[in-house]
């Protein structure tokens, strides 16, 4: 098994597997061994699911050999963020010491769907405790330790899908499943120089995933390429009677073939508070995008996006963990600020939460009008901005104050509040630190294929996504 396989995109890897040039069992052993030897260096792994993986790999190999090929995820190993329930005694820890040995009788829907697609679960991946919902503000917020960035292990992977970001970046898994309530897929993708897709809310079933915020939580893929993200999304998306928030709109990933230029909008204010290197790489990316898109500034409606989404996040999070906080077990969490972080939010008035929900409706409709435009020609295929305001921070550095203030995240507030899809792709590196930066494309609801097409086109013209940390 050559080192070329380690960072081979799923599209190509699956062809090798389908043509029986690579064995699913050999591939599984390769990634299991890498997880065991390298995973701890990045605090990326909670549980290596060796026994289950080898059973799945053997089954996949037999199925493929007998001509029963299920599709591009068949025989492909992956890791799952440790908030996804896994049966068979495999712990699902939610990244939190009080839940370290928690088990569930049934798999989460996403895990079942990936099993049906023939994918091979090799690990439960580390995460920030309780998906960051207790108010953490620095990287050491998990019983597995801070997520260490493979580009520089003294810096942070980002969170809360910290292990998912590190594992894909370091070539420990070809893809991972993460989750995002606000920033937890795009952040690690950007910090780790990989591609992460946050689907439309309701596109992927949340059944069996730890709930932080019922109306904000989304599950999505972290991969080496945008194309791979499309392949994985196709394997996990779909309506689910066990999750009534899932959409009845079906999803099929299709790569765009027409030559129409995209129309991309840069919202005013999206660069506020952004680091100089992020700004530089963003400007360079815009010049690269000019070959495939017309780009213009756009003014968004003046609404309190951050207050709306943050109120929903805090109120729902307070309810989701009400019994946990009342029990006093927050004192057992790793991050000191998580010991007291969840209390203030219990003072949010019901009328304020409902007001935020009412304002959410206004946001959804007004932002959708921006995408639609007054005419078809005036609309946008995507809104664009930096994925994060700065490259990865040091492990001992706060990334926001405990009361929540940080660099503004306009697209995050809008996109998560309105349930819109977004994809982060790497767009360069900081010259001095060699840490990656990312650019995000946010699309209209249910329009994942358009932002995937933009991201694929960008990656066909750049090579940032092919850069990998050395000596791995």
């Amino acid at each position: 098994m050559t080192s070329e396989v380690i960072f081979m995109p799923i599209r190509r890897l699956s062809e090798e597997v389908r043509m029986r040039r690579i064995s699913p069992q050999a591939l599984t052993h390769l990634f299991l061994d890498r997880l065991e030897t390298l995973g701890s260096a990045y605090n990326a792994v909670v549980t290596i699911t060796r026994e289950r993986a080898l059973e799945q790999a053997k089954r996949a190999e037999c199925e493929i050999a007998s001509g029963h090929y299920k599709g591009p995820l068949h025989g492909i190993p992956y890791g799952a963020k440790d908030l996804l329930a896994t049966s068979g005694g495999i712990p699902t820890s939610w990244g939190a010491e009080p839940f370290r040995h928690q088990t569930f009788a049934e798999d989460a829907t996403v895990i079942r769907r990936l099993e049906s697609a023939g994918a091979i679960l090799v690990a439960k991946l580390a995460m920030v405790e309780l998906a960051g919902g207790m108010g953490y503000c620095q990287p050491n917020a998990s019983f597995t330790g801070p997520g260490r960035n493979p580009w520089n292990p003294d810096t942070w992977t980002g969170g809360s899908s910290s292990g998912s970001g590190a594992a894909v970046c370091a070539g420990l898994v070809p893809f991972a499943i993460g989750s995002e309530t606000w920033g937890s897929i795009l952040g690690p993708a950007s910090n780790c120089g990989i591609t992460g897709l946050r689907p439309t809310y309701g596109r992927v079933s949340r059944h069996g995933a730890m709930a932080l915020c019922w109306t904000l939580d989304k599950l999505g893929p972290l991969c080496l390429t945008a194309d791979d993200c499309g392949l994985v999304l196709a394997g996990i998306a779909g309506t689910d009677p066990l999750d009534l928030s899932t959409s009845e709109q079906s999803y099929a990933y299709s790569k765009r073939t027409d030559a129409r230029r995209f129309k991309i909008g840069i919202p005013n204010g999206v660069m506020d508070g952004v680091d100089a290197v992020v700004r530089k790489n963003f400007d360079t990316a815009l010049r690269d995008l000019e070959a495939i898109a017309s780009i213009e500034s756009v003014s968004l409606p003046d609404l309190p996006y951050t207050a709306i989404t943050r109120t929903i996040l805090l109120a729902e999070g307070a309810s989701a963990f009400e019994d946990f906080v009342s029990s006093g077990k927050a004192s057992q969490l790793t991050a000191p600020e998580d010991h007291y972080g969840p209390y203030a939010r219990t003072t949010i008035l019901a009328t304020d939460y409902i007001r935020a929900l009412r304002l959410r409706g206004i946001v959804c409709k007004q932002i959708d009008r921006v995408f639609a435009g007054a005419t078809a020609e005036a609309g946008f295929d995507a809104l664009v901005g930096p994925s994060r305001a700065a490259p990865a921070s040091a492990l001992d550095e706060e990334f926001r104050s405990a009361s929540g203030s940080a660099a503004p995240d306009l697209l995050g507030a809008i996109g998560n509040g309105a349930g819109l899809p977004a994809i982060s792709v790497p767009n360069g590196f900081a010259a001095e630190t060699l840490l990656p930066t990312g650019i995000q494309f946010m699309g209209r609801a249910y329009d994942e294929n358009t932002i995937l097409a933009i991201a694929c086109a960008y990656q066909s013209r750049t090579d940032w996504h092919t850069w990998h940390p050395e000596n791995l």
């Binding site: 109120t311 209390y343 304002l359 206004i362």
Partner: protein, 78 residues
């Protein structure tokens, strides 16, 4: 103890509510941080109230009565 003279009256009141509920669970430094959190919640609420709403502006989530016999999904918010 958190510096209550520097807090808004609302924050002070809400902090007292939490202290009644959670007693000696947190130390004084932690309660001071909680007070900052309550202030931040208050500022967020003010921002929400800066946008006037009409009676017809509904919460953007539809409640659908549940019947296990047959899932009624028509009209369910996607």
């Amino acid at each position: 103890m958190a510096n209550e003279s520097a807090m808004s009256p609302a924050t002070s009141f809400l902090l007292q509510l939490l202290r009644q509920r959670y007693g000696n669970r947190l130390d004084s430094d932690q309660w001071a941080e909680v007070a900052k959190g309550i202030e931040a919640v208050g500022q967020q609420a003010q921002a929400l109230r800066s946008v006037p709403l009409q009676n017809s502006d509904e919460p953007f989530s539809c409640f659908q009565p549940y019947c296990g016999r047959s899932q009624v999904r028509e009209g369910h918010t996607a």
